[in-house]
Symmetry: C2
Subunit: 422 residues, 2 copies
Amino acid sequence: MTEMLSAAALAQAVRSGHLSPADVAERCAATIRAREGDIRAFASLDLDALLAAAKAPGLAQKPLAGLPLGVKDILDTVDFRTGRGTPLFAGYRPVTDAAVVRMAARAGGLIAGKTVTTEFAFMTPSVTRNPRHAGHTPGGSSAGSAAAVAAGMLPITIGTQTGGSIIRPASYCGVTGYKPSFKLLPVLGLKPFAWSLDTIGLFGAHVADVAFAAGALTGREFGFEEDTPAPRFAVVRTARAHLAAPDAHAALDAAIAAAALAGAHLREIELPEALEAGDAASVPLQAYEAALAFADEWDRHREALSPTLAAYLEGAARVTPEDYDAARRAARRARYALADLFADFDAVLTFSTTGEAPEGLGSTGSPAFNRLWTLTGAPCVNVTGLAGATGLPIGIQLVGRFGRDRQTLTLARFLERAIAAA
Amino acid sequence: MTEMLSAAALAQAVRSGHLSPADVAERCAATIRAREGDIRAFASLDLDALLAAAKAPGLAQKPLAGLPLGVKDILDTVDFRTGRGTPLFAGYRPVTDAAVVRMAARAGGLIAGKTVTTEFAFMTPSVTRNPRHAGHTPGGSSAGSAAAVAAGMLPITIGTQTGGSIIRPASYCGVTGYKPSFKLLPVLGLKPFAWSLDTIGLFGAHVADVAFAAGALTGREFGFEEDTPAPRFAVVRTARAHLAAPDAHAALDAAIAAAALAGAHLREIELPEALEAGDAASVPLQAYEAALAFADEWDRHREALSPTLAAYLEGAARVTPEDYDAARRAARRARYALADLFADFDAVLTFSTTGEAPEGLGSTGSPAFNRLWTLTGAPCVNVTGLAGATGLPIGIQLVGRFGRDRQTLTLARFLERAIAAA
């Protein structure tokens, strides 16, 4: 196992002159050369271009300090073909970078390559291997982004989540995944799946790394809040608690104990019905929008879609505008119910996934503990540090208040430290 | 002046067998051949393909009954180059149709061509002439879409509005413009300008025509509501009333009188401060998003932008995340304030524009009476039937309740009939 790269630490080393951007790029390139053959995290890659770009003057003083980044191959890039995980777009060259890619470039990030996505960021497994155990899925859909960080190939990668495509692979690969508040990172240049849910986020080694990258990318203040009162956590197993494996429950118990030891106030609660109902509502909501988002592919290129996606879209086409409107109303009620919950709590602690990464590569795992939170638009963080029955990582999901991403990451770091100290 | 084409009437004639889709296509083609040289409504056009497509079997029974449509050239199309009104994208061929284009095709609409947009749907005037008076601007940015309907070339066209790009050209060209509730028509495949504001809408001859097309496109119920109580209209001149010309005030007075005669209850009110503040908030909101939406063009192709757009984006880059967040909060307050207003009223009657289409082609006119309503996401209709001092059209804008598009169009038809009867 190669050590993961801390984006925050590398940026500090570059800024203080202990490392140059070229040193960092060379270190990433060396790990990629050593491990990519096994991991297959990249859909396209240009290490020569990366090493050349790292020699540009002035990078060290920019917010991202010349750090190499990976961008999920569902986002448009001019400099790399954008295959979207499907033969339909093999070799596709967009004419415009996605907005978040330009933000990264402006901030002094260097795009090392495109990371593997499942087909159109849906459920059909990709070629990527889990760096923690090659025989287990890395999850999806942001498989390559999670794996590249887990394998120590890159310090920061960009992913996307419509159901659970950041938090789930982050948990399976043992990295920090951060799904920001809905629309915090602009989705322009992202191939849409469901526009009410599609969210761009980040993977890094630890909470400090994704917080650093979020601040550098957006120009917003993402420094951890200081002198905060003891966190008040709502522990939530949801109506789908039976889907979580015993070791997922045990990991959540361990997180609770660690947080309590660190001074947090915790209370296990049942979610109000209006919030629980958001999980079911996310299904027709996503489907109705997907049927329109893939209207062109469905009408013109149906034979090029995987059986999984084709079957999904066939069902999706049967969702009526009335079903959709009802789902949108349920989504709104769920958002209000979550906002009400945060009158008494600072964050929710819950499962990131149902357990360890499933064995085999035939499935990307279940988004059962992600859909509801994606629907609410609330910021979510996969916090690392715990493991399951076979020693593979099991993450804890921390869900914060919509628009309070800085606070959410501060609380996630609290939990991360508590788990490490316990 | 060629007579405008009623989409609803044509569809009915096709469905009842009095006309064939080919008859309708031939009629449109004849008018386009006769007038396009002067009007210049089209960025690209394929009349041979239109006439061939109109012979396909089964069109008459589809929701759009084989009607020819025009699509603003800011929306992606596979079958037509998508120039976005800029030399930067001259000849650009997207790989995927915009979702609304697929919706139109699925509903049995035939895309006759792409209608002229101003550069990236911003303020730099286009080549299109106003069919009501060639020496006056048709408005923008949906110049070609408004002009094609006004000139009787097409029964329905698709446009977009970020500031006032549907309602303003509709008013100047004397056609019905309908900006639906935000996100009613999916924006996938629209080149974004400001994602919190960009809205796809429709142009037609009369209210019944855009209502028919909206229903056919979306599969939603858009038939006019029956047996409705007497409408309660709030008449609003806004804090920008001084920008409206005397004949715009006179037109609004005439609309008030007509509506009252038809049985409506009307009350002239001042907008609550939280709602008025939305107008100012829309400026940094749009700018911040535009700076990201055009990040690629700005970084790579700045020299290819018009001076107007370049200057705008240069200023836009100075809007901070804090300014943006403040604008978003103001927008939310404005939406709540409008919802509160609708406790007492069914719709707002206000100016569509500052007056008649300005003389000359050096400006597309002012969105001063549009930005606020676009910001709220509320459905807006430009209602025709009145004229200004020189005999050019002056529309009345009817603003309905968010999500109540059917009710809004029902009220717009009430006003349209009242004006016609007065």
